[in-house]
């Protein structure tokens, strides 16, 4: 547990890493589904609502049947039902995606709160069973990291495996071609004989199902209870992860991890007003990683001198601060978001060359391309 701490990384130890992975999982699940949906041209602002529905129905079914498997499935089905509403609105009726998504969120929040009150109103808060950890033979015995990385719950493994799976789907299969075409140039897919309706339906249902699984995860892995609005913005964080992840599976993984890791840091250091030395170190590392990335991955066109200069400045000052450890008192809310802000800035500047699917949020109408 303490190798990292011994090296001077303070709060960034293996316990932090383990928490970070668990907190990343629900965001990652929702983000991977949303990635597929957005590549097909549908933006689900209602991702938060899908998650909430997943959390509630997973709780309800697990409580009712005592079976975690039934619980997970019920959660997924709940999210997909809501996604069906979304698809009916946006794919069939060609309604505005953003307005529909906001509506989905309101409905999900109201409905789960209402049902929860109706069903559990008079009962004491019942705790449901949670999914246990599975340790993977051999690798879980690796000192320090084995236990953190390979002694986790199965849904966590699944969520991380979904990333290469989504990559394979998008870039190596006909389905992936069709999905990308549906978001980029639906007329081309349509005239090639691909049904845009079908692709977008599948995409929205995938987003609904995976987001709901993320919501279910909160209940049956993390907290074992349901609370109103318990997703607490994770659906929106997943939307952010897709944008900062540049609509690419591995980018989305990186962005989701940054969000999860920051969350974990906040949990570990609830109220410490002194900026730990390690924070400066991490700032320097992130800035340096950005520099290396910029130099290695040669961008098209002019090098971005201002970005490079800024990153160098941040990296150098990070190293200086790390080495000199000045006594800096900042409200913990401020400094704890520092690595988070920086990482997002780094991702955002990489986004400059990334592109949103051109037809995102636009309904497809034949002859109007």
């Amino acid at each position: 547990m303490t190798v990292l701490a011994d090296l001077g990384f303070g709060p960034f130890d293996t316990a932090w890493l383990a928490t970070a992975l668990v907190l990343t999982t629900p965001i990652l699940l929702a983000a991977v589904g949303e990635l597929i949906s957005e590549r097909a041209g549908v933006l689900n602002v209602g991702l938060e609502g899908f998650m909430l529905a997943g959390a509630f129905f997973a709780y309800l079914a697990t409580w009712g049947t005592g079976s975690l498997v039934v619980g997970v499935l019920a959660g997924i089905v709940g999210g997909m039902l809501l996604a069906t509403v979304m698809a009916l609105l946006c794919v069939e009726a060609k309604a505005d995606q953003i307005v529909s998504g906001v509506g989905i969120n309101l409905v999900a929040f109201g409905l789960t709160a209402y049902l929860f009150d109706e069903i559990f109103g008079d009962l004491a808060q019942t705790v449901v069973p949670t999914v246990g950890n599975v340790s993977i033979p051999l690798v879980s015995k690796i000192p320090e990291f084995g236990g953190v990385l390979f002694e986790q719950d199965p849904i966590l493994y699944l969520s991380f495996l979904l990333v290469p799976a989504a990559w394979f789907l998008l870039y190596r299969t006909k389905w992936g071609l069709a999905i990308r075409a549906a978001g980029e140039m639906p007329a081309a897919a349509d005239t090639a004989g691909i049904s845009i309706r079908r692709i977008r339906w599948m995409a929205v249902l995938t987003a609904g199902g995976l987001a709901a699984l993320g919501g279910a995860y909160l209940v049956i892995v993390e907290v074992a209870i349901f609370r109103q609005g318990m997703t607490a913005g994770r659906g929106f964080l997943a939307l952010v992860a897709v944008i900062f992840g540049r609509w690419h599976p591995f980018g989305v993984l990186g962005a989701a991890f940054v969000l999860g890791a920051t969350d974990a840091l906040q949990l570990r250091l609830a109220d410490d007003d002194q900026v730990p030395q390690a924070v400066w170190g991490v700032v320097a590392i992130i800035a340096a990683a950005f520099l290396v990335h910029q130099v290695l991955v040669r961008q098209r066109g002019e090098p971005r001198w201002t970005a490079l200069a800024l990153a160098s400045l941040v990296a150098v000052s990070g190293i200086v601060l790390f080495a000199t450890t000045p006594h800096v008192d900042l409200p913990s809310q401020v400094w704890r978001s520092l690595p988070y802000l920086l990482a997002l800035v780094v991702l955002a500047s990489a986004v400059a060359k990334a592109r949103m699917p051109s037809k995102l949020t636009l309904p497809y109408i034949r002859g109007e391309g």
Binding site: T173, K174, L177, A181, M185, A188, G193, I194, G367, G369
Partner: protein, 529 residues
């Protein structure tokens, strides 16, 4: 009525003297028959009771002015639009073609007028999008191999791993054709597939279409280039304002009478070049060089365009024309060299400076660079001059004045549209082009860069564009005309050069040039490539 009678009689007697079996079958059951197809859009009747037949083994040319309804009709056959009335018979059977998938199942394939390519995918991925037997994996290796084979067989050069958005227009056109060839079809519809092909590519394609027809496939071929039609079609049907005005065997007609049928009036296919005494140089380019990714795209290009002169750049597409235009208008920065417009150096990458200095440009790919499809005709016409005090004050636009100006432009440039408020995408391709012309020429420029300005225009509209350009020339505007059509260069320009591999080997006076000399200069490229 008489035309339809003639068409039927002509079908009965067989289309080509040699086309024996195929045509005989065709007489029994036409591959495609349309009966009284109608389609209305808000404000326009795009097709008005259109009937036509294509026999098996026949190549039918479909002609008509811009906006006559050709694309609409073919989109109906391909299942993209549902007709308001009429019947479609495929192989003698009545069908309601619900979707492109359905059309594909019926053996119909189509090359669309506007590219149906996903810009951020590679050529191979675009081809792999089309349905084929292997479901699951995209099998890009197989597609790549078959692409290489197709492209060498038909002389259509495509790079399977190239990303479509980096390709010049000519290459996109080849990709579209290859897509159709790869998929295979019994009834091929080609909607202006040649607007950006080179003559040798067209020769290969037409020979291939002929061989397909001889094997019993049918082809509907839309073009504005009458010469092409005479090389390949058996028969041709002419549309005007959504109605069929005639259908004639190609052997019984000639260019002037087809042109007359299309436009409904006598039209001159040649324009007279006005003689204007050239003035001061307006555009001066010295030693312009562009190197990208280690490739030399432009090499030491020098030229001058003087006021009241049309300077031409001939040459096969893809020899750096696109890049030259982008550098001139400030979309790309040159590696070396100097550009002066009206004596002022343009050295920063800045398209708005180009416009402020009186530059106007008619781009090659109007749908991507020329117009904003979602905006109204009015916005498109005035987007370059909204800041003029004549219709805006402190940044607020006076809607009446703007509308008045847009309506005047629409009338002057004969843009056929139900109104200036409709979105640009509702206009036919040719009319979008006229709108670009109206915007660019309508604000009294000093220099006009016209890059393939007549691409996709009907004969009447071409005549019109030439007239407008010549008017500008008489008014002392400097014109740089870049065109892949040799005829256009020879008839319009005062001096011209041939662009070969990013260089201008020699400037010719229009009078000393003849097609042979130019052909030889252009041929230099064929050897180099």
């Amino acid at each position: 009525m008489t035309n339809r009678g003639a068409a039927r009689e002509e079908l009965a007697t067989g289309t080509r003297a040699a086309g024996s079996r195929a045509a005989a079958d065709g007489q029994a059951v036409p591959a495609l028959e349309l009966v009284g197809i109608s389609k209305a859009f808000p404000g326009v009747l795009a097709n008005d009771g259109v009937s036509l037949r294509v026999a098996r083994g026949e190549i039918l040319g479909l002609l008509g002015e811009n906006g006559a309804g050709k694309t609409t009709l073919m989109n109906i056959v391909y299942g993209l639009y549902q007709p308001d009335g009429g019947e479609i018979l495929v192989g003698g059977e009545r069908v309601a073609i619900r979707s492109p998938q359905h059309a594909v199942e019926l053996g119909i394939g189509m090359v669309h007028q506007h590219f149906m390519l996903v810009p951020d995918m590679t050529v191979a991925e675009n081809v792999a999008l089309s349905p084929s037997r292997s479901p699951g994996l995209s099998r890009l290796d197989d597609v790549t191999r078959s692409l290489e084979e197709l492209s060498s067989r038909f002389g259509l050069e495509v790079e399977p791993t190239a990303v479509v958005e980096d390709l010049p227009v000519g290459a996109c056109q080849r990709v579209e054709i290859i897509k159709l060839l790869h998929r295979g079809a019994d009834l091929l519809i080609l909607d202006e597939p040649t607007a950006a092909l080179t003559p040798p590519e067209w020769r290969e394609l037409s020979a291939f279409l002929r061989s397909l027809a001889d094997r019993g496939s049918s082809v509907i071929f839309i073009t504005h280039k009458l010469d092409e039609l005479f090389g390949v079609a058996d028969r041709c049907t002419v549309l005007r304002d959504g109605r069929v005005v005639g259908s004639v065997p190609i052997s019984e007609t000639d260019k002037p009478s087809l042109a007359r049928m299309m436009v409904g009036r006598e039209i001159t296919l040649r324009v007279d070049r006005p003689m204007v005494e050239p003035g001061e140089p307006v555009l001066e380019v010295d030693g312009l060089t562009l190197v990208e990714d280690g490739r030399t795209i432009l090499e030491d290009v020098d030229f001058r365009v003087r006021a009241g002169e049309v300077f031409g750049v001939a040459g096969v597409g893809g020899n750096g024309q696109n890049e030259l235009v982008e550098v001139l208008i400030g979309l790309r920065s040159a590696t070396a060299g100097e550009i002066r417009l009206g004596g002022r150096r343009l050295d920063r990458l800045d398209p708005s400076e180009f416009v402020r200095q009186g530059g106007a440009v008619i781009p090659e790919d109007r749908q991507h660079e020329g117009v904003a499809l979602e905006l109204s005709v009015l916005d498109n016409l005035l987007m370059r001059e909204f800041d003029r005090p004549s219709f805006s004050r402190w940044g607020v636009i006076d809607p009446d004045k703007a509308r008045g100006r847009a309506e005047r432009l629409v009338a002057e440039y004969d843009v056929r549209t139900p109104g200036v408020g409709v979105p640009m995408r509702q206009l036919s391709g040719g009319n979008q082009q006229k709108a670009v012309l109206a915007r660019e020429l309508g604000r009294d420029p000093r220099l006009v860069i016209a890059f393939q300005p007549t691409r996709g225009l009907d004969v009447g509209a071409i005549e019109f564009v030439y007239r407008k350009l010549n008017e500008q020339k008489r008014a002392g505007v400097a014109i740089l005309l870049i065109s892949f059509e040799l005829d256009e260069i020879l008839s319009m320009t005062d001096r011209f050069t041939v662009m070969v591999g990013g260089r201008f080997p020699r400037v010719l006076e229009a009078d000393e040039a003849d097609p042979e000399t130019v052909g030889l200069l252009m041929g230099g490229e064929a050897e180099r490539a």
